[in-house]
Symmetry: C2
Subunit: 225 residues, 2 copies
């Protein structure tokens, strides 16, 4: 697309992690006609390799991106502290929960959206995650919408910034089918929490990914890398 | 206070900027019996000197503190971009508004509060600021409270984390009188937006500070440094 036409597209900030959910969300936003500005977070996660995947995905989609480095110099999550063993298959909130993580990510996305005049923020949270992570639940995104309308210049000036969660009610297999239709380069995506050079195949994230591909009847191309 | 007794006190996260409002808020929280954990942000503000002031204030109060460095690699605020002249005395939202700033600060405070088991977050926003800054309005703090109750582990587990804004309805002179009663070391505080070695005396922040001290009938000890 010519850059002059591109500049006319409505803008969206997309939170991109390197996993298949956020990659599908990016391709969904692009398909809907948004010019996408991705935010990728380096927050001390043990699976730092996802950052490189996110960059490749943004490039593949022809989207611009920024990497935001933040430090959360406190303990309390197995995703930040390698000494804590990642819990698997438990009910309730898993120990990979990072306090306030999506709230922090959305805050930066909101700041970026205001600065570039984007009217939408896309995030790939969904039903399976919100069985465990409170910051993946629909009522959280509704509440954050109210923060935007009351606490920002855009809100005061009635310029809407919507939080859009296209995957919120979808299971993993549905997301994978959607991504397949959108042409998401699944081979570039990474889901494993452990951060080793190859997926561990055992953490919740690997498990849900494998089960999703199986249910969708698609072979995970990342397995062949 | 002996450390064993101190460890029994309820914990609070206090957002500390180096200005007199947040210093007064810290002393207020301490007076109310909280053990205070301050967060100080290095976000590329042109008045970076406030960070040093904030550290001295935290130390003076016997509170612990962490400095959080964040980058907001986008334009749009005179506080982040020295090429933009700081507007003065205008109606509406001033150009020192940083998109989403207090939302980002609160997100980190929330993450920290969850990690250390603090039940309160103190922030020194007040009536004069919210005539200009949308993220200083009471309805914003109410909305953020709903984000906490819906989007965090603490919220799900019904462990309350309250956002406390003790100055919200106070004018500058009232805040200064309160600070005087609480023993706030005003000489250590810095308010000027410009970031030069001495306050400029002309920006909105200097103006409101000078008028507040005058109305309170107190001589600003920072003038004698």
């Amino acid at each position: 697309m010519k850059s002059s036409r591109r500049s006319l597209l409505p803008r969206a900030v997309v939170l991109l992690s390197g996993g298949l959910d956020s990659a599908t969300t990016l391709y969904f936003a692009r398909k809907k006609g948004f010019r996408c500005f991705c935010l990728i977070f380096d927050y001390g996660q043990r699976h730092k390799k996802e950052i490189g995947s996110a960059v490749k995905i943004a490039q593949d989609a022809g989207a611009s991106y920024k990497i935001i480095k933040i430090s959360l110099p406190w303990q309390g999550s197995a995703l930040l502290d390698k000494r804590i063993k990642i819990s698997r298959g438990k009910k309730g909130i898993p120990n990979t929960y990072v306090p306030g993580r999506n709230i922090i990510f959305l805050s930066f996305a909101l700041s970026y959206a205001e600065a570039i005049g984007a009217g939408a923020i896309f995030i790939g949270a969904h039903i399976q995650d919100y069985s465990g992570y409170p910051d993946c639940r629909p009522q959280f995104y509704q509440a954050f919408g109210r923060v935007i309308s009351t606490g920002t210049k855009s809100g005061v000036e009635k310029k809407e910034i919507r939080i859009i969660t296209p995957l919120i009610n979808k299971g993993k297999a549905e997301i994978i089918r959607l991504g397949e239709n959108l042409g998401v380069p699944f081979a570039l995506t990474r889901s494993c929490y452990e951060g080793a050079s190859r997926p561990c195949g055992r953490c919740d994230s690997c498990y849900f990914r494998a089960r999703g591909f199986k249910e969708a009847g698609i072979i995970d191309p990342a397995l062949n890398i």
